[in-house]
C-alpha cells in the first residue's frame, strides 16, 4: 500500500506560502491548525476509476493499452475519450512507447472481459472516442474487475485501486486520483470541525494530469464534468458573505468552483463542465488558497497556480521546494498557496 502504509506517510511536509509571500515549512499534519473558524475547506470526493485496460486490437490482433481519459457524457457511462498506446507498460517512458496499431473508426477492441468499439478518431494519433458494448452493469463490472488504475513510472509496484482512492473518495468519477486529497484524513476533518473550520466536497472528474506526450499534454486538461451539491454551494456562499476564506484541496476543486462561479463569488449548485485552462491572468472568484502537490513549471497543474501568485513568487516557492527536497510525485509533499494580495496581475514581485 503506497498511500496508506508508507513509513514516511506521517512525515509528509507542507510549504505554506502566505498571501503576503511569507513562507513557512510545516509538517503536513499541521494543516488541521492552519485555518480560522468560519473558513471553508472544499475537497474533491471523486473516487478514481481503474482507467487503464490492456487488450487486443482485433482487426490487427496486436496488443493495445487504452487509458480512459474523459467522459463523453455522464448520462452514457459507456462512452469515453481515451488515449491508446502500443506494446509496453507504464514503466516505459511514454515517448518510448510504440504508437497503437493503425486504428480506424468501427474497429473492435477486446479488453479483458470487455469489448469496445472505436467511435471516432480525434486529431492526434493516440486520441480517440470509444464505446463499450454490453449492459451498463456489465461494463461497470468489467471495468471494476479488469481495469487497473493509471500507473506512475516512479512507483515500482503496480498500484491497486485502494492506493488511488483518497480517504474521502465517494463516487467513481475521476480518471486519475485527485491527489491533493491524499493529505486529508478523518482525524484532520474532526480537528477542523472542532475548530469550526467548515468542510465540504464537490465531485470533479479529474482527468489525466500528464501523458508524457508533449503534443497531447498541451491539450490538457480535457473538459471535465463536475457536480456541486447544494449544501456545498450554500457553504461557499456563507463563507463569502462572512468574508472567510475558501481553501480548495487541489486543482480540480479550483476548476470546478471557478467554472461554477458567479461574479459575486457564489457558486451554482448542480452539474457542469469545466473547460479551458486556468492560468496567469484568470480572475479567481471563489478560491482564496489552494492545497496542491508539488508540480513542475509547464505542467497544467502548475500553470493553474499562476492564477494565485505571480511568476516571481512561484519561482521563489519552486526554488525553496527544490532546495529543501520536497517530494514532487502524487504521493509526495504539499504546498498551501494563498492567493497573492494584491491579485497577481504582473510578472514582477
Amino acid at each position: 500500500m503506497i498511500a496508506a502504509d508508507r513509513p514516511d506517510r506521517y512525515s509528509a511536509r507542507l510549504l505554506v506560502v502566505e498571501a503576503d509571500g511569507t513562507m513557512r515549512h510545516l509538517p503536513r499534519a499541521a494543516l488541521g491548525a492552519l485555518f480560522d473558524p468560519g473558513d471553508l475547506v472544499v475537497a474533491n470526493d471523486a473516487a478514481t476509476l481503474p482507467a487503464s485496460l490492456h487488450g487486443t486490437h482485433l482487426p490487427s490482433d496486436k496488443v493495445i493499452e487504452i487509458r480512459l481519459a474523459g467522459w463523453l457524457s455522464l448520462s452514457d457511462p459507456a462512452r469515453f475519450v481515451a488515449i491508446a498506446f502500443g506494446s509496453g507498460d507504464h514503466q516505459s517512458r511514454t515517448e518510448d512507447r510504440p504508437p497503437p496499431p493503425a486504428l480506424s473508426r468501427g474497429d473492435r477492441l477486446r479488453l479483458g472481459p470487455l469489448e469496445a468499439v472505436i467511435e471516432r478518431l480525434l486529431d492526434h494519433p493516440r486520441l480517440l472516442e470509444l464505446r463499450f458494448l454490453g449492459s451498463q452493469a456489465a461494463v461497470l463490472a468489467g471495468l471494476a474487475r479488469y481495469g487497473r488504475p493509471i500507473q506512475y513510472a516512479h512507483v515500482a509496484e503496480p498500484l491497486p485501486l485502494w492506493d488511488v482512492w483518497t480517504k474521502i473518495a465517494a463516487l467513481p468519477f475521476a480518471f486519475e486520483a485527485p491527489s491533493a486529497g491524499f493529505a486529508l484524513d478523518w482525524r484532520m476533518l474532526q480537528v477542523w470541525r472542532r475548530r469550526a473550520v467548515g468542510f465540504s466536497t464537490l465531485t470533479h472528474a479529474a482527468g489525466v494530469s500528464s501523458t508524457g506526450d508533449p503534443a497531447l499534454d498541451l491539450r490538457l486538461p480535457f473538459d471535465e464534468p463536475y457536480r456541486i451539491p447544494e449544501h456545498t454551494a450554500a457553504q461557499v456562499a456563507r463563507a463569502k458573505l462572512c468574508g472567510r476564506r475558501v481553501i480548495a484541496i487541489g486543482t480540480s476543486v479550483v476548476r470546478a468552483l471557478e467554472s461554477a462561479a458567479d461574479p459575486d463569488g457564489s457558486v451554482r449548485a448542480g452539474d457542469g463542465i469545466a473547460t479551458g485552462r486556468i492560468a496567469r491572468g484568470t480572475p479567481l472568484r471563489v478560491a482564496d488558497a489552494i492545497l496542491t502537490g508539488i508540480h513542475q513549471p509547464g505542467e497544467s497543474h502548475f500553470e493553474l497556480l499562476r492564477a494565485f501568485a505571480n511568476d516571481h513568487r512561484l519561482e521563489r516557492a519552486s526554488a525553496t521546494l527544490t532546495a529543501c527536497r520536497y517530494r514532487a510525485h502524487e504521493f509526495g509533499d504539499s504546498m498551501l498557496l494563498c492567493r497573492q494580495q494584491p491579485p497577481p496581475s504582473a510578472r514582477g514581485a
Binding site: 485502494w162 463516487l171 476533518l189
Partner: protein
C-alpha cells in the same frame, strides 16, 4: 410485505443478498421503493435476484481483499452516495460446527475474513460515499448483522461467535468515532432464523420454531429508519 414506496430514493447496499436475511432485505427494500445494490458470490444467483427485484446485483466475495474495491466501485457507481450499508454476509467457520480445539486456524481465519475484516474493509471503502450522504443532510447508517453468539458462549460456535463479538465491538467503537461525521453504526441481532446458514449450522433444528427472515428483515428496516434523520415526505430521499 409493504408495497408502498415509502423508501423511494433511499440508497442501500446489502452484502450476502441472495439468500436468507440478505435476500429478504433486498426484496423488502426494493418493494418499498429503495434504490438497492447487493453483493453475493455466485453469478447465477446474483443475476436471478437482480432480475427478480430490479436491484443492482454485484458479484464479489467480501472475504477477499482484492474484491473489496471492485465491489465498492460498483456500489457507488450504480447507486451513488450511500445512505445505508448492511454488512450481512456471514461465514460460519467450520461446517459442521466444531469445538474450538478441533477448529483449524484457517477456519477461524475464514470466519474472521468475512464477518469482521470483510465488513471492515467494505465499510472503509464506502465510508466516503456514506459521508457524502451524511454531509447532504440525509444521514448515513451502517448496520452490521450480529448474533446472540456474539454475547453467549455457545459450544461449537467459537469461530462464528468470536468473529461476531469482534464485529459488535468494532461497530460500537466506529459509532463513537463517526457520529460527528453524521454516520451511525448499529450491530443488530436478527434472532435465530430459518435460513440456509442456520440449516448449515444446525441441520436438525425444527424450522417451525425459527424466525422467518422476512420478519427479521422488516425489523431491521424499522431500526434503520429510526437511525436516519426524520423524513417529512417520501421525496426527502430523492436523488441529490
Amino acid at each position: 410485505m409493504q408495497t408502498i414506496d415509502d423508501l423511494q430514493g433511499l440508497r442501500v447496499a446489502v452484502t450476502g443478498g441472495t439468500s436468507g436475511l440478505g435476500l429478504a432485505l433486498v426484496r423488502q427494500l426494493t418493494a418499498r421503493g429503495a434504490c438497492a445494490a447487493f453483493v453475493a458470490r455466485t453469478t447465477a444467483n446474483v443475476e436471478r435476484i437482480a432480475g427478480e427485484t430490479g436491484a443492482h446485483g454485484i458479484v464479489g466475495d467480501v472475504g477477499k481483499k482484492e474484491d473489496i474495491y471492485a465491489i465498492a466501485l460498483q456500489v457507488a457507481a450504480s447507486i451513488g452516495p450511500l445512505d445505508v450499508l448492511i454488512n450481512n454476509a456471514s461465514s460460519l467457520g467450520p461446517v459442521p460446527l466444531a469445538l474450538l480445539a478441533d477448529t483449524d486456524c484457517e477456519e477461524l481465519e475464514s470466519a474472521l475474513a468475512v464477518n469482521l475484516v470483510g465488513a471492515f474493509r467494505l465499510t472503509k471503502a464506502l465510508f466516503g460515499a456514506l459521508a457524502a450522504s451524511a454531509r447532504a443532510g440525509r444521514g448515513a447508517v451502517v448496520i452490521n448483522i450480529s448474533s446472540d453468539a456474539a454475547v453467549n458462549a455457545y459450544p461449537g460456535w467459537g469461530a462464528y461467535g468470536a468473529s461476531k463479538a469482534a464485529l459488535a465491538h468494532l461497530t460500537a467503537i466506529w459509532d463513537a468515532e463517526a457520529k460527528p461525521d453524521g454516520i451511525r453504526f448499529l450491530a443488530l441481532d436478527p434472532g435465530d432464523m430459518d435460513t440456509p446458514l442456520h440449516a448449515l449450522a444446525l441441520p436438525d433444528a425444527d424450522p417451525s420454531i425459527l424466525k422467518a427472515p422476512e420478519l427479521a428483515a422488516a425489523e431491521i428496516i424499522e431500526k434503520m429508519l429510526d437511525a436516519l434523520p426524520v423524513r417529512n415526505a417520501p421525496t426527502t430521499w430523492a436523488h441529490a
